[in-house]
Amino acid sequence: MSDILLSLKGLTKAYPGVVANDNVSFDIGTGEVHALLGENGAGKSTLVKMIYGLVKPDSGTMTLRGKAFAPAEPRAARADGIAMVFQHFSLFDALNVAENIALGMENPPPMRDLAARIREVSETYGLPLDPYRTVGDLSAGERQRVEIIRCLLQDPKLLIMDEPTSVLTPQEVEILFKTLRKLSAEGTAILYISHKLEEIRALCDHATVLRLGKNVGECVPAETSARDMAELMVGTALKTPTRAGRDMGDVALEIVSLDAKSPSAFGTSLKSVSLSVRKGEVLGIGGVAGNGQDELLAVLSGEILTAPGSVKLHGRPIGQTGPTARRGIGLLTAPEERLGHAAAPDMSLTENAMLTGSVRENLESRGFLKWRTAQGFAEKIIEAFDVRTPGPNNAARSLSGGNLQKFVIGREVLQRPEVLVVNQPTWGVDASAAAAIRQAILDLVAKGAAVICISQDLDELMEISDRFAALNEGRLSEPRPTTGLTVEEIGLMMGGAHGMEVAHV
């Protein structure tokens, strides 16, 4: 591992208003599993985009196997043996696996040969995949396999993986790690991007930590404690949310054997889902993305209407009640997608406050809008949740992801919900904002509200929820008390390893 494969020297990239990477240097050795560690917004993505030829650095140099390396485009990077598995897959839903893989190759063989090679590689590395299946029908884990195999078919010297485990169950993570270790043993270097410390300790030989675009330290993960790495990554000691002992009240919200068809072609329909949540309780719902989370939220927000009795609020059937009326009786929701679903990108924060606040905050009388009151409400949210923005007249899309998330959550929390449903409340949000959001949720519960928190962040769910259930292919597991749950049990609730029955790993 002594010979250096890729060496980065003084890489700098600035965007208007923000320096994404500031003089970053480090080396990656041949066959090394190298972690790139950092919070959301620390500049990890920009850095790997420079290595992959998607972004050009403002200054600094890269050296690959001793030669100057400056890929003008991904094609050039691929030609030099660099492959990348994206966090958001660059896949084509309507095309099949083999076609998707052919698109990622420079000179793909004829389809039939390619299909045979896909089978071969997928068996070698324990990642079963049918080359003729339509990608839109695959689970998130299977889709990731498509990306990985696409990379492996090119015999890469360096494989970049951007947050690969966020879409996997714990069992699937184990399988992925086996594959990666095998690759590393064969001499392929892996640049592994993550903010999950335990994973990095389990997998990586070496770690580089980024904070606010700067390289703030390197370490050998196996010899460093998770706490030390966290402090390097965040810069300060974190305040963890406090959870007071709770008194559970009556059942606030109930779903009774609910079936709901997904409105989108490649969505997941809900199948006989039942749950209940009590006043003063947080019900955490885990599961890999795309297993019905969006649909569950839509069923609760009233965007998808169902049989009247299948959703009940305080015992009242509301399955046929629309979103506005549900807000009126105290059921509030915050969807995952901030821009375009929870908030309208080109509208001001005042208008976005109006979006869900009109009923409970009295922003409307007989159809006519009270803009002044709405602005006051928006200012209240900005103030209470420390949303960084020049003012309520700024457009939603001018806010950073974390700030907009604080606004969206704040908007619902401040409306004094009786039941609050949130989907991915802290996704893509920096650690301190995430902590603030979780604290706000817990404060709400302490005052007697019921909360359903849908998330893919298992640590988050373990931290704040009283009971835990998981969504898997549109079915919800039996909720169980969080205390005492093991990772294996959680993994099995999430469906174990998807599509791995045929594998021999």
């Binding site: 208007p16 420079m50 050009k56 650095p57 403002d58 400056a70 890929p71 003008a72 927000s301 009233g302 965007e303 629309g322 979103p323 506005t324 009326a325 807000r327 929701t333 969807p335 997608e337 821009l339 375009g340 679903h341 929870a342 908030a343 309208a344 990108p345 080109d346 509208m347 208008e351 109006m354 979006l355 869900t356 009109s358 409307e364 159809g367 006519f368 809008l369 700024n394 457009a395 899309r397 001018s398």
Partner: protein
């Protein structure tokens, strides 16, 4: 290398400046076009934009501004509601025809009775006719998901055939010596939409003014208008806010159809005077340009409608005095829309010049 950079939020300045710059650019390139056609460009531009307002015969042309502007504004206001929400009614021309047919039909049914209630009944019939014609694409879209652009457009051709059939058959003037076309409504006191013909004032002008105010209040002060804007910006967020997409489609298409139908009725009972085969002159399509030129804003549409009316009148003057072909003005209007759409880029993006970096 030119790089486009998305602005964090739309530029207010450019949003207002774009239409003005587009008009100026069109004047320059339109002038070039006129020069190519062998016309004095400056002269032509002056004839089109200046003479109708301040020339020797302005007293005659100024009222024309109201006559031509009213239907354009009325239709464009309706279209803008849908366009804002991403609902594309491009068949206003057809709804305009049908409104004229149903409205005139009701009036002619009463002929030769004179009564105060005839004209109000015609207005209602015209509005209903346009509304019903626009509800065809509306209902089909809501019920079957059919593309409203294609259906509303196809219905223009159907309406044109109906118009021909009516002027040759059912609504033909029995005392018209066999010529196609209906009785002249201007000669039928109870079915006349003129208020003051010399001033260019007819009920359509009143309706257009009311429509502008109505749309302004709706979009800025009312929940329904908020929902329209919300749907245009983020359809998923609109559903989340509680908007029923189907109802919104029906409202937007219905309203735009109704306003187009009204425009047709006021036209047939006023400036046109009768139902005839060549009754429709493309107001329904030009209104699309008006809606965009006015940035889908009621006040903007009012100004844009008057400007477009000006090009119609000026074009006619240029045609008779300078021999500028009628089609040239159509090209001119199309060009205006091009520049507007292209320059709109500046509202949402910043253009930067960058030297190609070497990594």
């Amino acid at each position: 290398m030119i790089v486009l950079e998305k602005r964090p939020q739309a530029s207010q300045l450019w949003s207002l400046a774009t239409p003005v710059v587009a008009v100026l650019a069109t004047m320059v390139f339109g002038g070039l076009l006129f020069a190519l056609l062998g016309t004095q460009p400056v002269e032509a531009i002056r004839t089109i934009f200046w003479d109708p307002l301040f020339g020797e015969f302005a007293f005659y042309y100024r009222p024309q501004l109201l006559v031509k502007g009213a239907p354009l504004v009325l239709i464009a206001i309706g279209l803008s509601l849908g366009f804002k929400a991403g609902i594309w009614n491009i068949g206003a021309e057809g709804q305009y025809i049908i409104g004229a047919l149903t409205g005139a039909g009701v009036g002619l049914a009463f002929y030769p009775l004179e009564a105060w209630y005839i004209f109000p009944l015609m207005v209602i019939a015209g509005a209903l006719g346009g509304w019903a014609w626009a509800m065809i694409p509306g209902v089909l879209k809501v019920r079957f998901g059919t593309n409203e652009i294609l259906v509303s457009l196809m219905l223009v051709y159907v309406a044109e055939q109906l118009l021909a059939s009516m002027s040759l058959g059912l609504l033909k003037n029995p005392q018209g010596f066999g010529f196609p076309g209906s009785r002249n409504l201007n000669e039928y006191e109870s079915a006349n939409s003129w208020i003051n013909q010399n001033a260019g004032l007819h009920w359509g002008v009143v309706a257009a003014t009311i429509a502008v105010i109505f749309a302004y209040v709706l979009l800025n002060r009312h929940m329904l208008g908020f929902h329209i804007r919300l749907t245009g910006d983020a359809p998923r967020a609109a559903r989340f806010a509680g908007v029923s997409p189907g109802r919104l489609v029906l409202f937007c298409l219905g309203t735009s159809g109704m306003l187009a139908g009204l425009a047709g009725l006021f036209e047939v009972a006023g400036p046109a005077g009768q139902v005839s085969i060549d009754f429709n002159t493309g107001y329904g399509f030009t209104a699309i340009i008006v809606a965009f030129l006015g940035r889908l804003h009621p006040i903007g549409i009012l100004l844009a409608g008057l400007l477009m009316a000006l090009t119609y009148i000026g074009g006619e003057i240029a045609q008779s005095q300078m021999g500028l072909p009628a089609a040239a003005i159509q090209v001119f209007q199309g060009m205006l829309l091009f520049f507007l759409l292209a320059l709109d880029l500046l509202t949402n993006y910043r253009i930067r010049l960058k030297s190609r970096e070497v990594a």
